[in-house]
Amino acid sequence: MEQIVLLLLLIPLIFSIVFIYSNKKLYKPLSFLMFFICSILSIFLAYKGSLSIRLTGQIFKISEGIITLSEILMILYLFKISVKHHKIGIFILTVIQTIITLFTIFTPDKSEILTVGIDKFSLAMLLIINIVGTLIVIFANGYISEYEHHHGIESKQKLFYPIICLFLSAMNGLVVSDSLSMVYFFWEITTITSFILISYNGDDEAYKSGFRALFLNLIGGICFGVGNILLKKMLDIDTLSGIIQHGSISLSLMLPVFLLCIAGFVKSAQMPFQSWLLGAMVAPTPVSALLHSSTMVKAGVYLIVKLSPAYAGTRLGTVIAIYGAFTFFICSAIAVAQRNAKRILAYSTIANLGLIICSAGIGTGVAVSAAIILIIFHAISKALLFLCTGQIEHTIGSRDIEDMTGLIRIAPVLSILTSFGIISMILPPFGVLVTKWMSIEAAGSNPFVASFLVLGSALTTLYYTKWLGSILAYPVTELKAQDKKDFCIFFPLWALGFGVLMTSIFITPIFNNFVSPEVNKLLKKSTDMYIKRGEVVSKLGTFNEAMVFIALGLVVLFVILMRRLMISSANIKSIYMCGENNFAEGENYFRSWNGKYEKAKVSNLYFDNILDEKALTTFGYVVSSSIIIICLLGGLK
């Protein structure tokens, strides 16, 4: 068991080194190999169940040494880039971080122990990181070369793959560690790898976004470090399990917990800190998919959920719930006005993370279960959507959802996968919606949270429906592109699509094996809900998933039965254009008043004037930062 955990940490590292020294041809087989090894290991570990390891004595010394050494290296690297690019802000933050690191190293009464604790939630995270993460690496094989070609940048793949592997290793480390100092260490590694990957293109914009991400995440890191020290000082807690054991914390001692929460907010790009995730969209799509939707941002919410025993049921919990719900609402509103698919996905990611944080903040059994399930489902669906967007961009050369009109005609497989991803985000019976149902039900008793969730969810449906409609629109535009069939591209897409479907169908075992025990452990009480025979049952209500699946089956059955009546017997006629169709030019051309042929063009509505991105963002900044500042200044007491 211990060996497997160690292997999960080491194998990506080994691959990282192998990638450095192998030549380009081997990347593909290597990625597939990594996918198989990592997923088998993680599945095996998940099968074996949870465990907890205490590193003492000699092993402790060694690992402590490794961590300290790497931390020093990281700090040196930060100093180097801040000096090289003349970034004062980064320099100052690094200095503060150095002080924190030195302080932790030279604390007199340091505990001589490091714990590795793998509970059910960690196992679920491990599965996501090792399966979804490595699938994305496979996708990168088909993607990156063309991407570099498109953008005219010299190949940096020698850097790309090792860094991604390093990142996967760090993520694995993050979710298996129990000692907060270890979590902090891996947390910082993800920050730095994310910086390197965001500035992948090497141009000004990339560096600007990279440094913004670095700056904000360093602030988060400092909050983490300070919170860590304070937690040890004030409550003598230095592990995540310690927080669970301690249970609810009185409000006067809440500051360190809140600092850790802020670190989580930054990592999850919540409202005042959201700009880094939007900037990060300049990175190649696999990076966006891996770091900024399915794994790294999940580290933030992972931490917040793990902290939930400390604040569940307290006033801080309510504040966090309102804060998350507000982010969910405002980011959904901003997303409505977006045309760029990647930006829509970015805002939707922030919104969904807000929903997770909100659920964690509500802190009842149902709500925390909703948070954990949403983390799982969102990771898979979002990874699928990001990868599809990347591939669409390579197919039609644009990310604008208006340009995707008629995509189903030239790239049917890709369009169906994308639509499936979108449907899994907004419609039952797929997981994301079931969790939305759970969180709205859990939020029912607090009208503020509930109102934000209700309005946000209506907006979410709007912007996704627009996109879905564009993709599936049939005969409008002749897009100039060809559908490429690359195994490296479509294997991950199919696998993820299949994953979305399977996780939604098998929500029962997922809930019973991963979510329910975790919530019981976190909140020290039962979840108040169970899933049986396709029914999600809680004290508040029942979601009959099976029925919706049966109805979906009926749709398929009807379509097959009525094939003759409704579909194959149908005669295809041209669209109605008041009779002025022009068949020579194309289906959507019509003869205008002057006898010339014009193209009919209809686009979706974006409300740019009402839902102005700048104004809404400013509004969001004001509200969210005031919530945080008031809490920091002791508003909780």
Binding site: T461, K466, L468, K539, T542, N544
Partner: protein
């Protein structure tokens, strides 16, 4: 014993499948008749909607692409499913989410034909979805706060009608009923009357059997929507029915006395005043901690 129960369920199921379209058909017949009388006309026979549907089934099936009818089937099945769930008194929030599948499918179906007119209609329908969805959810949350459960079946245990405590939400629901019935001030996504600007909106490219299925689904939807109103006075079915019928006639009258408004107006109005009303009602319940169960 088991077979008896099964028989009961089977009969119930059959009733649920057969009765609503009959009611819906008659309701829409009444709608046309009353409208005609309000305009000083005689109007079509009461069963005219039925004749229309039978005729449509006998027409040739023409499409723009082979897949557009799949959306119609999806729409039909999920409308029936949501009505079924409503009559089985299941979880209210789930019902609305299932109902969303039906509407989304219709919208995407309209867009998928690629015709500019149906695309305009679909886009407008997404807007009206944005307008009515929050109100429905607020209604549900209001019900939850009063009864402590999202299940409709819990309403049977109380003897106080929801209308006493949710009057503002009732007004909001009346408002969105106009949107949902696609009646006059808000019939901008699809209607028989807006030829000049819309042709037939979302359904421009549907004909024959597909249009007939849409029509039958509308009958189910009529019953579903009036069922939502019925829940306001669940305690006494007679009053509940009267409430639903009054709502229906009110919608017909509104349809006949209003001119079509723009979607901007509707969106602004719902997202300020109507949502404001709903939130005010919910806040009232929250602050005074009203419970009826």
């Amino acid at each position: 014993m088991i077979t008896l129960i099964n028989l009961k369920i089977l009969i119930k199921l059959l009733l649920i499948l057969i009765l609503p379209p009959v009611i819906g058909c008659i309701l829409s017949g009444i709608d046309r008749k009353v409208t005609a009388h309000l305009q000083g006309r005689v109007g079509p026979p009461l069963l005219q909607p039925l004749y229309d549907v039978i005729k449509l089934f006998n027409k040739e099936n023409i499409v723009v692409n082979k897949y557009q009818n799949v959306y119609v089937i999806t729409y039909f099945i999920f409308v029936v499913l949501s009505l079924f769930m409503l009559l089985m008194k299941m979880d209210f929030l789930m019902i609305i989410f299932v109902y969303t599948i039906a509407n989304t499918s219709l919208i995407v179906g309209g867009m998928s034909t690629g015709s500019p007119y149906s695309r305009i209609g679909s886009v407008r329908e997404t807007i009206s979805m944005l307008a009515y969805e929050p109100i429905l959810l607020f209604y549900i949350i209001g019900m939850y706060m009063l009864t402590g459960s999202f299940k409709i079946s819990k309403l049977a245990y109380t003897n106080k009608p929801l209308l006493y405590y949710l009057p503002l939400i009732f007004i909001a629901m009346l408002f969105i009923m106009t949107i949902k019935f696609k009646k006059s001030p808000f019939d901008f996504s699809t209607s028989h009357h807006a030829h000049q600007e819309l042709v037939k909106g979302m359904f421009t490219e549907y004909s024959g059997p597909a249009l007939a299925i849409i029509e039958v689904a509308h009958w189910y939807e009529y019953v579903f929507l009036l069922g939502l109103i019925f829940l306001f006075w669940y305690t006494s079915p007679i009053i509940g029915l009267i409430l639903a019928l009054i709502t229906f006639f009110l919608e017909i009258v509104i349809d006949n006395i209003c001119a079509r408004l723009s979607w901007e107006w509707m969106l602004k109005f719902t997202w300020t005043i109507i949502i404001g009303l709903s939130i005010a009602n919910i806040l009232f319940i929250y602050l005074y901690n009203v419970k009826i169960l």
